[in-house]
């Protein structure tokens, strides 16, 4: 009897260990992604360009007032002569840079005449690479911040030329292109999914044609996404190039690829939603003299609205996470100008691009992963909430 109890408890403990390790797995993913990525996560990352831009220029005028120290953080060096605060920081690629932390509105740095024409106002966040002086040695970024500070503060130095960088590494482009993809894909796949779902739920007879159609759609969900990527590459890109102003891979082709991937899921879930609308609703509508088209439009579709919304959230989650199919269609080269007819990677593809680079940029990749995880979590919770509302409100 003791042996049996031992066996039983071993089995139970094993199941417990399993579930704990699954929980541990989730914790590990979140811990890793957040610990690596949270350091870079800030608003500037989300709004700044990926490509760094360099500027060379000099002050437009030599008249400027005296400046007061605005009491900055302790590691920031305030240069009284020019009214700027600079500090040593690490950029998104991990290099040490000299960054403008504070620029006085009256500072000469707000009005720089650029060498190739035009003018520039230095803002905080930009970095200082080199300052050349008249008849004195230039101060370089690589010589460290103390050298730069003393060179700038020296009253005998007159600035001849300045070189700045607007730092890159931002993910605005991938963020925008992901949003475009979500919008375009939903516009394509939702009508298709709802129409087909409505057909299967309301109009399809139980015959051979229906069964075959259903099976084919079901088979579509078994195709791996990389194969959809190949189709996007060989069929959808040429198709969009012919019918739109696009010249190569583009977001519309990406959205079409995603639509093909999502089609079976959207059809299945909307159909389920339509099926869940109670029979008596339809019967009442038909009894009042409405035909089946009217019943579908005014009873069935509104009745399934929350499940259509759930499907939409589900689809958004998939679009944000999809990488393999989009790598082929959108490429991995991050560009800053995002248009519907241009190619620009989504957030997930951006992660892949960062990780296949030599050496991989795990930190920035994790930051993007943090964003994806947060969005996915919010979507998941919204679905849960919706389902709860659905069960409480209607039936």
């Amino acid at each position: 009897m003791n042996k049996r109890r031992f066996k039983d408890s071993t089995f139970n403990v094993m199941t417990f260990i399993s579930i704990i390790s699954v929980t541990f797995l989730l914790g590990m993913i979140f811990w890793f992604v957040f610990s690596q990525g949270i350091g870079l996560l800030n608003f500037r990352l989300l709004t700044s360009d990926n490509q760094a831009v360099n500027y060379v220029g000099a002050f437009s005028s030599d008249n400027y007032p005296e400046f007061m120290d605005p009491s900055l953080e302790s590691d920031v060096h305030f240069i009284e002569r020019y009214g700027i605060g600079i500090a040593e920081r690490r950029d998104l690629a991990g290099n040490t840079v000299i960054e403008f932390v504070y620029v006085d509105p009256d500072s000469p740095f707000t009005d720089i005449a650029l060498l190739n024409g035009g003018s520039l106002s230095v803002t905080s966040g930009m970095t200082l690479n080199r300052v050349a002086f008249i008849e004195r040695p230039a101060a370089q970024r690589s010589q460290g911040i103390m050298n730069m500070v003393s060179a700038l503060s020296d009253e005998g130095n007159t600035i001849r030329e300045l070189s700045f960088t607007r730092p890159g590494g931002g993910i605005r482009a991938s963020l925008v292109s992901t949003l475009y993809l979500i919008g375009l894909t939903l516009v394509i796949v939702l009508p298709f999914g709802i129409m087909s779902g409505l057909y299967f739920s309301e109009f399809a007879k139980n015959n051979r044609l229906t069964r075959i159609t259903r099976n084919f759609i079901e088979m579509l969900s078994g195709i791996p996404s990389i194969v959809f990527g190949l189709i996007g590459l060989s069929v959808l890109i040429p198709f969009t190039v012919r019918t739109t102003p696009a010249t190569g891979g583009n977001l519309i082709a990406g959205a079409l690829t995603l639509s093909a991937i999502l089609l079976p899921i959207v059809i299945r879930t909307t159909e389920e939603g339509f099926n869940n609308v109670p029979r008596p609703y339809r019967e009442a509508s038909l009894a009042l003299g409405a035909n089946r088209t009217q019943t579908s439009l005014f009873i069935v579709i509104p009745g399934a609205l929350s499940s259509i919304l759930t499907t939409t959230f589900l689809a958004i989650g998939r679009i944000i996470g999809e990488s393999a199919a989009l790598i082929f269609v959108l490429g991995t080269a991050v560009r800053d100008r995002v248009g519907v007819f241009d190619r620009s990677p989504s957030l997930a593809v951006h992660i892949w691009a960062l990780m296949t680079r030599e050496p991989p940029n795990i930190e920035l990749a994790s930051t993007i992963a943090v964003i994806i995880l947060i969005v996915v979590l919010i979507l998941n919770l919204s679905i849960k909430l919706l389902v709860r509302l659905l069960h409480r409100g209607r039936y």
Partner: protein, 309 residues
Amino acid sequence: MKNNVIMSNLDKHTQRLLLLFSLFASSVIILIVFFIVTRGMLPFITDNDGLGRVSLFRFLTGTVWLRGATFVSTAYGAGFLVINTLYVVFLSLLISFPISILSALFIAKICPPRIAQMFRMVVEILTAIPSIIFGLVGAGFLLPIIYTLATTLGYRSNAGLGVLGVVIVLALMSIPTLTTISETAIRSVDRSLEEASYALGATRAQTNAKVVLISAKGGIFAATILAVGRALGEATAVSLVAGNAMSGPSFIPFDITATLTSMMLMGLHETSGIDYDIRFSLGIVLLAVIFIVNVTLNFIKKRVGDFGE
């Protein structure tokens, strides 16, 4: 009366319109297979810009992958990729299957409902995490650990890349799917079967192991088939930890490897020529592998399912 006629015609038109939509939706799969096959056949039937035809037999059985334009050769061998793919998916299943089934059993039968709800939530969130993030965690977190393990054991390791990483990443990715579907299957086991088992004097653990799991085996098998299909087709996460071996097959856990999908991602930058087309040939092989594995598993499921039900 006239109004009625229009209205009944309207229904017919609506039905036709909606039928058109669903016919289009179902034709997508045909289009996909058609385009992949026509494109993927090109390297075997054309001259490939003077490189000569790719030998189909060699392609299916070869153990070295030579990139055509670079090596001026058509000696593509995808045989080792097929073996690698099947090998890593099988090993990953060895890890994920027991963990998932036992977790599902714990959630469905053993723990109190309130805690079950919490664990269910954990699994749900895991299901929603995109594969690229599993790849990221694999590459950033697991590879250094595997590298340390390999060097302590005296193996040479290329930054931890290789079979073991792929197996673990695939296993982690299959766990949520397997657990969710198995749990549904376990919960739908007929209560009277369990009661019968208790009545015969079996303990709860015995009942869970020998009655519940056995009765739910149809659903568990279906979950396994789904998970295997996904693992076979997984691309980006695998490519981040595989190491892009150009020959194989690789069986040692610390050897670098390559799967069908990771090889397809490697030719990314080609836009024309044989290196472009050969990816579609790999696509055919991938679809064929998935199809054959699926049919085989379904066949086994039918044989196993018949017994005891």
